[in-house]
Structures are given as C-alpha cells and as structure tokens.
C-alpha cells in the first residue's frame, strides 16, 4: 500500500504544450468576460437612454398640457370678455336709440 501511494503521488512532468494550452485557454476566458462586461454596459446605457426618453416625454407632455390649459383658459377669458364688450355696446346702443326716440317724440309733441 505504501508503494501504491508513493506511485500515485509521484511527480509527473506535464505533457508537451500543456503550459501553452493553459495560457491560451485563460486568454479565451478573459475575452469572454470582456464581452459580457461590454454587453452589460451596453444594456445599462440603453436602459438609461430609455429612462431619459421617458422623462423627456413626460416633461414635454406635462409642459404641453400646462401650456394648452393656459391657452385654453386665456381663449375662454378672451371670448367671454369679447361677449361682454359686444353686449355692453349693444345695451349702450339700445339705450341711446330709446332715449333718442323719447327726446324726438317729446320735441315733436311740443
């Protein structure tokens, strides 16, 4: 048994080209790791761009909505002011016409 153990643990030289193959394999593994890192970075960048796009869309939508509401309110106020101006001039005109008729009929009656 002692001999069997000694044979098993005996120092054995590696086959020819072993070191070169190990180095080659290690290089190949490193390249794959770099690829994975690059892919992860690209995915992260794309996600960031997507979030920025979403944020920009939200800002534009909110800003546009606020602008639209302000413009709509201004338009409604303007239309109401216009209606009131026309109504005021209408009442003033009607009253002037009525007064003119009264004055004329009064003078004719003299």
């Amino acid at each position: 048994m002692h001999d069997d153990l000694r044979d098993a643990l005996r120092r054995v030289d590696p086959p020819a080209g072993f070191a070169e193959r190990v180095i080659e394999k290690a290089r190949a593994e490193n390249v794959r790791v770099d690829d994975v890192r690059l892919k992860a970075d690209a995915t992260k960048g794309a996600t960031n761009v997507r979030w920025w796009a979403v944020a920009a869309t939200l800002v534009v939508a909110l800003g546009g909505g606020a602008w639209y509401r302000t413009e709509e309110r201004r338009r409604q106020d303007g239309e109401e002011a216009k209606r009131q101006v026309l109504l005021s001039l209408n009442i003033a005109g009607t009253k002037l016409r009525s007064i003119e008729m009264k004055v004329n009929s009064h003078e004719e009656g003299r």
Binding site: G78, V85, I91, A92, L96, H106
Partner: protein, 192 residues
C-alpha cells in the same frame, strides 16, 4: 451698519417719492366709478340682470379676440382700443317700484365734477333718463347713461375717449342710432 441702514432708508424714500411722482398724474386723471351696493343688490330682486365690469386689461384681451374681418367687430375693436373701462348694470323687474330713482344719486354725485356735462335729462311718466359726457380737451372722454324706467334700470358707464364719429359709425351695428341728438342743442333744451 448704521450708515448702510440710513442709506437704505433714504433710497427707499427716494424710490417711493419717484414712484408717487410717476404714478400721481395717472391716478389724478383716471376716474374710478363706484356702483353703490344698493344697486348691485338689485340683481336679487330682478327678473333678469346684466352685470359687466371691464377694465383696461380685460378690454385689451377682448380687443385681441375681436375679429377685424367682421364689420361689427372691427367697429367695436376701434372703440374698445381707446377705452379705459366699461361698467354696465341692467335690471329688468317683474313689478314696479323695486328700486328708487334716489338709488342712482351716488352715481350722479360722481358726475358733478366740471369735466362732466349732462346732455340729456328727461322725466316722463315716472321714468327718468340722463346722459352725461365727459369733455376732455374738446373730445368726448366718457359717456354715462342712466335710464330709470318703471320695470327696468340701466346704467352704462364708459370711461375713455369716444369719438362721436365712431358712435355714429356704430349706428345699426349695435343698435346705436346714426342720428344722435346734437349734444349742445339737447343740453340747452333738455337740461334742468
């Protein structure tokens, strides 16, 4: 620190003085009409009421929305462009004596300044009608119509330059007669 504080106080005083000097003329010549509360409350009794108050900012906004391609609106736009304010109160009642002619006295008292002239005064069958104009540098700078009928009360106060030609031009457009009575002649004939 004390010097700074004194300087700040002086600068504030100067700024206030300059602001007063700049703003005083505008405030001195602009007349603010007050409609008595008693008149404003008539809307509670009225069958129909109109309450319009348009100041400079609203008049500008209205002017911007008046269509220059429309004949009537173009005429209104030309008039509105020179106005400072418009006040209209119109009440229609279901029965007589819902208000008193004396309710209008606070408005009449605001028209006692020399700038205002009464050009029409007519009392007939319980109705009292008055037209006042403000003469400003030989131009009509304001118009007030007070029409107290049995079941209708109308108050129209237009502050600002109104060219009589423009009023004539409005004839037919907004119900304003083209042949208004001659203000001077009417004043002599009708004023009390």
């Amino acid at each position: 620190m004390k010097t700074m504080s004194t300087m700040t106080k002086r600068m504030t005083t100067v700024a206030v003085a300059v602001a007063c000097a700049v703003l005083w003329p505008a405030g001195a010549f602009a007349q603010v009409f007050t409609i008595p509360d008693r008149i404003e409350k008539l809307s509670e009794k009225a069958k129909e009421s109109t309450n319009i108050t348009l100041d400079g900012a609203l008049l500008k906004l209205a002017s911007a929305f008046l269509n220059s391609n429309d004949k009537d609106q173009r005429a209104a736009k030309e008039i509105v462009g020179k106005l400072k304010s418009i006040h209209v109160r119109n009440f229609e009642f279901e029965k007589d004596n819902e208000y008193s002619d004396a309710d209008l006295d606070p408005i009449r008292s605001q028209l006692k300044s020399p700038a205002w002239s009464r050009i029409v005064e007519q009392r007939e069958r319980g109705e009292h009608t008055q037209i006042f104009v403000k003469i400003d540098k030989e131009r009509v700078g304001g118009l007030v119509i007070l029409s107290a009928e049995r079941r209708e009360l109308s108050i129209v106060i237009i502050d600002g330059e109104i060219d009589p030609k423009q009023i004539s031009a409005l004839g037919g457009n907004f119900g304003i007669p083209k042949d208004l009575p001659n203000p001077t002649a009417t004043s002599k004939d009708s004023a009390e």
